[in-house]
């Protein structure tokens, strides 16, 4: 958003406005109005007029809430297509994400009212639970995108991803070189670092930053023990290797902290996306089944 030039400031500088605060919370307001209307209508039909809650989805309000909810869900899934096309202005991707977040959250109320609080072991409740799972993971995603991108660059420091990997590989080459004069036992220990190093590991290792089986960690410790017993040229080589292994361990730490933040930024998607598809399928089954056995 361009703003007027103040002396000494550039006129075209853009101020960052997050997708959550986009257009002065326009979509939060729209979602709030939608929800207040839904709650008021629900109160009027089911509390004030005393219509029973059983089969609330089949009342005129139930059909309305269900249709609105289903249309919102379909629109929300469109973000997968929309994000691959660039536009700007009111329908910029940021506006779209803002609407995605707030309309998505509003489903919690709209669809819960649609259920009439009638739950059971059936496809209908499955669809509802999947929706909650999608929304819950979406909330995790919003939180991740609020706090983590800053940490991502903090953690990485001056290094790029490529540099991290290249540094590790360069260190590997140096380690290999430095270890050539070592005897077989010592060489095998050093080989652990070259063969068994886990740079970023599995999802669990990334999230916990816990790498018990990492070859470099054991190589670091064991080379230090070997060094205490070694002497002469062997000791010199081990010193050199040990220093290189320590440097590698540092870089690995940075890479893993980075991978941890990356994992947290991405993990929610592994629930959000598959569950969205599951939800669409369950929603289809829900709608078809309701009218199949009308």
């Amino acid at each position: 958003m361009a703003k007027e030039a103040i002396y000494g400031e550039r006129a075209d500088v853009t101020h960052h406005e997050s997708f959550l605060r986009h257009a002065r919370l326009r979509w939060l307001k729209i979602a709030a109005v939608l929800n207040v209307a839904a709650i008021a209508a629900f109160w009027w039909v089911f509390v004030y007029s005393g219509t029973r809650l059983e089969h609330a989805g089949g009342t005129w309000l139930g059909y309305t809430l269900g249709t609105v909810g289903a249309l919102i869900m379909l629109w929300l899934t469109m973000i997968g297509i929309r994000k691959r096309a660039m536009t700007s202005g009111n329908w910029s991707l940021k506006a779209w994400v803002s609407a995605h977040v707030y309309l998505g959250l509003s489903l919690v109320i709209i669809v819960t009212l649609h259920t009439g609080f009638q739950f059971g072991i059936n496809i209908h409740t499955l669809a509802y639970l999947l929706m909650l799972l999608v929304i819950g993971s979406g909330i995790m995603g919003v939180i991740a995108y609020m706090y983590l991108p800053v940490r991502l660059s903090d953690v990485r420091g001056d290094l790029t991803k490529k540099q991290m990997i290249e540094t590790i590989h360069a260190l590997d080459r140096l380690i290999l070189q430095a270890a050539q004069s070592l005897d077989h036992t010592q060489a095998r220990v050093v080989q652990l670092s070259l063969d068994k190093t886990i740079i970023v590991g599995s999802l669990w290792q990334r999230l916990t930053n816990f790498y018990p089986g990492c070859g470099n960690r054991s190589a670091v410790n064991r080379v230090k023990r070997l060094r205490r017993r070694a002497s002469g040229g062997s000791a010199e080589a081990l010193d050199k290797v040990s220093g290189l292994l320590d440097r590698k361990q540092e870089i690995l730490g940075t890479a893993r902290r980075y991978a941890r933040v990356r994992a947290m930024l991405e993990a929610w998607l592994y629930i959000h996306i598959p569950m969205t598809f599951a939800l669409l399928a369950a929603l289809t089954a829900h709608i078809v089944s309701v009218f199949f056995f009308f």
Binding site: H55, L194, F277
Partner: protein, 633 residues
């Protein structure tokens, strides 16, 4: 004797491999990581001096590992190997592969050195960059999403549809029906046996449940054979009870005329969905819904369970009854908007007995007074401290504390809680109004009630026998008058006069029959009498199901049991005076609100009226025996 060592290194970014050769002019060459080895392999898995290879004869080579070292030969890990060079043998040392082949001269052996894995340390960093993305260690999002989505579609949508179209409706209860996952909840107690038999009700896909599906079990008016067959069929499907037949609320034509528009069209959203999927003429499911569980339903020992209010959707009586006259001008019913505008009660009396079914059309008050055919005065019977009460007490009948005859002396609770058994003379009156006469030879005998001809016969026989000659001096029997025993033999004429007096005259002597009944005779001298038929109305409000057994219905404002609170019987000296209370009496509680604005008693239509049988409100108690009077009535 010599070895030619040929090293082949692939270029990192493609292109011709780099080849370097080295000649070892000896019949023995060392292999190891050490820089002093003839064949140096810079792999930390390989010992500094790992092995030695020798020319073992013409075209033969032997390789022997040193110390604890090993190498790979023909798939096994060995210490030593000997082979023909011409066989193209390869040996594995760490990540390196040594391939042997004959050289250009007979003495020369070529050892080609290559590495099994493309040098791991020169791996593509662009690929490594991707390692930071979770996609490198996680399942593919796209595959997972499609797999999950398609699996759900298959299990939760395709399977039930296929089952519905391909499997015929079961004759026996089934174990698994894939469509059960569509069931929004358990069925009501009466329908539990259909839980897995979706097609029993959901006959057509994408169509509302037709009335025919309901009526296939609940049709009313079946003969005994048809009903037995139906019960057998339903029980064969697993039901524990025979189905409960349901009446039509009214003639379907009338129902259609009564509605301004079909109920479904009352709301545009509902009508849009219904228009897509249903036939608007189907009426059962416009009120009845199931899959709401059996909460509140009665247990099986009382027969097929009745629907609870939760199983009947909001049925809007006013939709038709608010403007019924406008749609059906000839209706006898009055328009009712709601309880506040409910017209006062119109006690109905059966005036036109059709074959088998009395037609209750006449308003007993405004069209009356009607002669019930019985001479009876509640006022007289209920007089406080009067002869009636005194005599009743003498005969062991209940008398109220106020000193009047108790209502329960004559009126006996029925088995439905609704009211009272129809009055029967012998049971309800004869303890005071005895039908006994001294009888022939003093053998006390009862006059057969309701049979004038036999009464005449019995009495004539008594008088002819000489009557009191053999009596024990009883001069008065209990029915309402002195019964003069006689010792004389009477003439036939005299007997006829006496008997006629019993039926027709209240001016002469005793008149036990005439006191209550009216008789007609074709001829003043005949002894053939006809009773004017008695029409006692047991339910004046047949379209409502007032329940006398409700404790609050039997007490006055102070909580004291009192029939006379509602029924002003003490001022009624004829049965033509209907003692049904007005609606104001009901409104004292029903619809009235307590100081905090809550209704003291409900005022919805179904409190008093049923739909299929208007006098059977759905919430009424189900009785298996007579209800009880509270004490002091």
């Amino acid at each position: 004797m010599s070895f030619t060592i040929l090293r082949v290194t692939q270029r990192a970014h493609g292109g011709d491999p780099i080849e370097r050769t080295k000649h070892v002019e000896d019949d023995e060459a060392s292999i190891g990581r050490g820089t002093d080895c003839d064949l140096q392999l810079p792999d930390l898995l390989i010992g500094l001096r790992h092995a030695v290879m020798r020319i073992a004869g013409p075209g033969r080579v032997s390789v022997e590992a040193l110390g604890e070292h090993r190498f790979v030969f023909q798939g096994g890990i060995v210490r030593r190997a000997e082979f023909r060079v011409a066989d193209g043998i390869s040996l594995g040392f760490g990540t390196y592969i040594l391939s042997f082949s004959p050289g250009q001269t007979a003495d020369d052996v070529v050892v080609t050195v290559s590495q099994t894995v493309a040098d791991a340390l020169v791996s593509d960093t662009s690929l490594a960059k991707k390692a930071f993305s979770l996609s490198s260690v996680m399942f593919s999002l796209r595959t997972a999403a499609w797999t999950l989505g398609l699996a759900i579609l298959l299990v939760a949508l395709a399977a039930p549809i296929a089952y519905d179209y391909l499997v015929p409706p079961p004759e026996q209860p089934v174990r698994i029906n894939p469509a059960e996952q569509w069931s929004p909840g358990p069925l009501s107690a009466g329908h539990t046996f259909l839980q897995k038999n979706c097609k029993a009700c959901h006959v057509n896909a994408f169509r509302r449940i037709p009335d025919e599906a309901c009526l296939s079990c609940h049709r009313n008016g079946l003969d005994a054979i048809a009903m037995t067959r139906l019960t057998e069929r339903v029980m064969g499907l697993g039901s524990a009870f025979a189905p409960r037949p349901a009446n039509d609320h009214a003639d379907p034509n009338l129902l259609r005329r009564a509605q301004e528009a079909p109920i479904v069209a009352a709301n545009p959203i509902i009508s849009a969905f219904d228009g897509l999927f249903s036939h608007p003429t189907d009426r059962c499911t416009s009120c009845h819904t199931d899959h709401v569980g059996a909460r509140g339903q009665r247990t099986a020992d009382l027969g097929a369970p009745r629907p609870t209010p939760a199983q009947v959707s909001e049925s809007d009586c006013a939709n038709c009854h608010e403007n019924l006259k406008a749609h059906i001008p000839d209706t006898a019913l009055l328009d009712v908007k709601d309880w506040d505008h409910h017209p006062d009660f119109r006690p109905l009396i059966a005036t036109l007995a059709e074959k088998g079914r009395p037609k209750r059309v006449s308003d007993a008050v405004s069209d009356g007074p009607f002669d019930t055919g019985l001479k009876f005065s509640h006022k007289q019977h209920l007089a406080t401290g009067g002869d009636v009460a005194r005599q009743a007490a003498q005969y062991g009948e209940p008398v109220a504390p106020s000193g009047r005859l108790s209502c329960s002396a004559c009126h006996h609770p029925d088995n439905e809680g609704r009211g009272f058994l129809p009055i029967e003379m012998v049971r309800d009156c004869s303890s005071c109004h005895s039908l006994q006469i001294p009888g022939v030879n003093g053998q006390a005998t009862s006059l057969p009630h309701g049979k004038p001809a036999r009464v005449v016969e019995t009495m004539v026989a008594y008088y002819k026998s000489g009557g009191a000659a053999n009596t024990t001096g009883i001069t008065r029997m209990r029915p309402g008058g002195a019964f003069q025993a006689t010792t004389d033999i009477l003439s036939d004429q005299m007997i006829a006069r006496k008997v006629r007096a019993v039926f027709m005259d209240n001016t002469v002597g005793p008149h036990p029959c005439y006191g209550c009944h009216t008789f007609t005779a074709d001829d003043p001298n005949t002894l053939v009498f006809k009773i004017v038929p008695v029409h006692l109305e047991n339910r004046y409000l047949p379209r409502a199901g007032f329940d006398h057994s409700v404790p609050q219905h039997l007490v006055d404002a102070n909580g004291k049991p009192l029939c006379l609170n509602c029924h002003k019987a003490t001022s009624s000296d004829s049965l033509s005076n209907v003692v049904i209370p007005s609606i104001t009496t009901c409104k004292a509680c029903h619809g009235a609100r307590n100081p905090v604005g809550k209704q003291i008693a409900a005022s919805n239509c179904t409190e008093c009226h049923g739909y299929h049988t208007t006098g059977e409100p759905p919430a009424r108690e189900v009785y298996l025996g007579p209800w009880r009077f509270p004490g002091g009535m």
